[in-house]
């Protein structure tokens, strides 16, 4: 009987299985050892692999990010956990000026097989400094691959691919998908026990449809799938594209879908300006075939550019939701 597990368990299993396979993999971050991670994803690793491979760090993100880079340069394959993506700021220089560029700057001499894992997202009252998504910033920087799974199956396969990748990968996990009791709804699903890879750069068609293409990633893909169900009830056939990776961006899947549906709605929980929605729309608009296929102006739903507020009605007003997707999709289809 196939087993259903939560996304945090899928992540935990991916790391464990890869560490069993390859002794060059180490894990480092705050509270990831003894405690098994603020969001449980490194449970049991310290016990299994010991403190030379599972390293609890001080609160020195720039320092341990730099250490991961140095370790990678001479042969390890570090997985670094940022306790929340919001804290990438203190380590940013190491990420974008070093991790992302050292391969290129060295003329291809160095490999940088580092995975940065970080929880993303809001929707549960953690306010402006603990609710961000920020993946557009990583995606803007050449030299970083950016992954954002929406379910346990993808999470496991994409994480294994990320760990096996010789390039830096930023692997972003939405807190509301982990499946932790205190962070509903959680994403649960069938996940094979054995290791498997999913290619980085292939979007998932989460629902097939004819009338409109709805694009999301991580939690917004999850929301878009639910919205598509509701739209179907209202006679609208929505195709849902779960990007899975922002870099590489699966332009082919996007264009193919829009060529079929002629309508595009991009959903994002990240700050909307200068982000994912613009990139996806431009990717469609600049392509002669896809452009021609567009029956209506593409539209976007996202955080319109507001620090995530604490209070529930305010947060709801700012973040994307099933309702907002349905509403915007109907507007688009009726336009």
């Amino acid at each position: 009987m196939p087993r259903e597990i939560a996304m945090w368990e899928a992540i935990n299993e991916a790391i464990r299985q890869e560490m069993e396979r390859d002794s060059r993999i180490i894990v480092l971050g705050e509270d990831i050892g003894k405690m098994g991670g603020a969001f449980w994803c490194t449970q049991g690793l310290l016990e299994q692999f010991g403190s030379s491979r599972v390293i609890d760090t001080p609160i020195s993100e720039a320092g341990f990010m730099g250490m991961a880079i140095g370790a990678a340069l001479v042969g390890l394959r570090p997985i670094v956990e940022l306790q929340f993506v919001d804290f990438f700021g203190v380590a940013w220089d190491q990420i974008y000026n070093h991790l992302a560029k050292l391969r290129y700057m060295s003329g291809g001499q160095f490999k940088l097989p580092v995975v940065i894992r970080a929880p993303i997202g809001g929707g549960y009252g953690d306010a402006a400094q603990h609710s961000q998504v920020l993946y557009s910033i990583f995606a803007h920087i050449p030299g970083l691959k950016v992954v954002a799974p929406s379910n346990p199956y993808d999470a496991k396969g994409l994480l294994i691919s990320s760990i096996r990748c010789d390039d830096p990968v930023v692997f972003l996990e939405h807190k509301l998908l982990y499946g932790l009791f205190y962070l509903p709804p959680g994403s649960f699903g069938e996940v094979p026990e054995e290791p498997y890879e999913l290619p980085l750069g292939e979007a998932r068609i989460a629902a097939e449809g004819e009338d409109i293409t709805i694009v999301g990633a991580a939690y917004t893909a999850y929301l878009a799938e639910k919205a598509a169900d509701r739209l179907r009830e209202q006679g609208v056939s929505a195709e849902v594209i779960d990007l899975r990776t922002l870099v590489p961006l699966d332009k082919h899947a996007l264009r193919k879908s829009v060529e079929k549906t002629g309508r595009l709605l991009v959903v994002d929980e990240d700050y909307l300006p200068y982000g994912l929605t613009g990139e996806v729309i431009a990717t469609i608009a600049e392509d002669a075939e896809a452009f021609k296929a567009l029956k209506a102006p593409p539209a976007r739903v996202g955080n319109p550019g507001v620090p995530v507020p604490f209070s529930e009605p305010l947060e709801k007003a700012v973040l994307p939701s099933e309702d907002k997707i349905v509403k915007e999709a109907l507007k688009l289809v009726e336009a």
């Binding site: 705050e30 509270d31 003894k34 405690m35 603020a38 609890d56 760090t57 001080p58 609160i59 020195s60 720039a62 320092g63 919001d86 804290f87 700021g89 203190v90 549960y124 009252g125 953690d126 306010a127 402006a128 400094q129 603990h130 205190y182 319109p304 550019g305 507001v306 620090p307 507020p309 604490f310 209070s311 529930e312 009605p313 305010l314 947060e315 709801k316 007003a317 700012v318």
Partner: protein
């Protein structure tokens, strides 16, 4: 071949004792007590209600650490600046933010100190010159900056940065102490060494016995302080704040304490604590410590304590009532305050 014998300069540590005197009046002792008990009472009530899911987000409480904000803030006025951390409730209380505004903020109500936008890690008040940040180490340079402004403007205000032992391993700690020292800023760095950063023991994350030693690297005076003894905290803070006000520059108070609360409520299982450790520290509870000291020094009596506790319960209860009668903000409010004049 030649054998050379060379001599290199190096440095070692010596321990010193700094003797400081303070006067503790009955009034002062009761003021300490009032602050600590008010913070404790508020936090206890918040904990109870948070456990029944009345509030959203995380909740970081500071049971057992109240002597530090109470002792330090005794010396501050509304003109002085404080930056605090994710564990900021007692600090907000001691700096004089209104109880109902604090509570309303934690409930996301329109009358919250930040009108519901900040939440529990981000209590703030411009009139009280108080700011908390959820980024570990983030508030340290900000306090130094307020001190820079005071110096530039010729104000005799001081700035205080409260932060944890975990924050002392952030780059901002290093940069801020250096900056404060070279510019001789009126700032006091108050390190709340509760021995843990979440599950991480100070002794395993910090390559030095005491963070007070690090102050030597910035030519900055520093004291180790019993952070569970409000009189000691006050005495040390008086020395530090007065130095700063006199233009003699920054200092570091390394206050040794212990967090009796979990790192955050509900979620933290506290399995990282060695057996018996918490029990040991419960005996050093700063509220009870002050009761004993005040009785011994004949400054106050059991009746005073009971009265203050009753007052605190009443204040907290009333504050909850006021706070919870405030509405949630209107959704449109979300789109204001990003920029000025909008």
């Amino acid at each position: 071949m030649s054998r050379v014998l060379l001599s290199f300069k190096s440095y070692s540590l010596a321990e010193r004792e700094e003797k400081l005197e303070a006067e503790v009046t009955r009034e002062l002792a009761l003021s300490f007590y009032r602050k600590m008990v008010l913070a404790r009472t508020l936090e206890d009530e918040l904990k109870r209600r948070y456990e029944s899911f009345e509030m959203r987000g995380e909740l970081h409480l500071g049971r057992g650490q109240e002597a530090i904000p109470a002792g330090v803030c005794e010396l501050l006025s509304d003109r002085d600046f404080v930056s605090a951390t994710h564990r900021c409730i007692a600090h907000a209380v001691c700096k004089g933010l209104p109880l109902d505004g604090i509570i309303a903020e934690l409930y996301g109500r329109a009358s919250g100190v930040c009108r519901g936008k900040g939440g529990h890690m981000h209590l703030a008040s411009s009139s009280k010159r108080f700011l908390a940040t959820g980024i570990v180490g983030g508030g340290i340079p900000i306090a130094a900056g307020a001190a820079l402004a005071f110096k530039t403007l010729g104000e005799d205000s001081v700035a205080v940065a409260f932060f944890g032992d975990g924050a002392a391993n952030q780059g901002t700690f290093h940069e801020s102490l250096n900056l404060a020292s070279i510019y001789r800023l009126p700032v006091v760095f108050v390190l709340e060494d509760n021995q843990y950063a979440f599950s991480t023991r100070r002794s395993e994350s910090t390559a030095v016995e005491s963070n007070a030693i690090r102050a030597l690297g910035y030519s900055m005076p520093a004291l180790e302080v019993d952070g569970n003894d409000v009189i000691a905290v006050y005495t040390a803070a008086k020395w530090a704040v007065e130095r700063a006000r006199r233009g003699e520059g920054p200092s570091l108070l390394d206050c040794k304490t212990y967090r009796l609360s979990p790192h955050l409520e509900i979620v933290d299982t506290e399995e990282y604590r060695p057996e018996g450790e918490k029990e040991k520290w419960e005996k050093l509870d700063p509220v009870r410590r002050l009761e004993e000291q005040a009785v011994e020094l004949k400054l106050a009596s059991k009746e005073d304590f009971e009265q203050i506790k009753a007052e605190a319960r009443k204040l907290v209860e009333e504050a909850f009532q006021r706070a919870l009668s405030s509405p949630l903000p209107a959704p449109e409010e979300a789109f204001r305050d990003i920029f000025s004049g909008e």
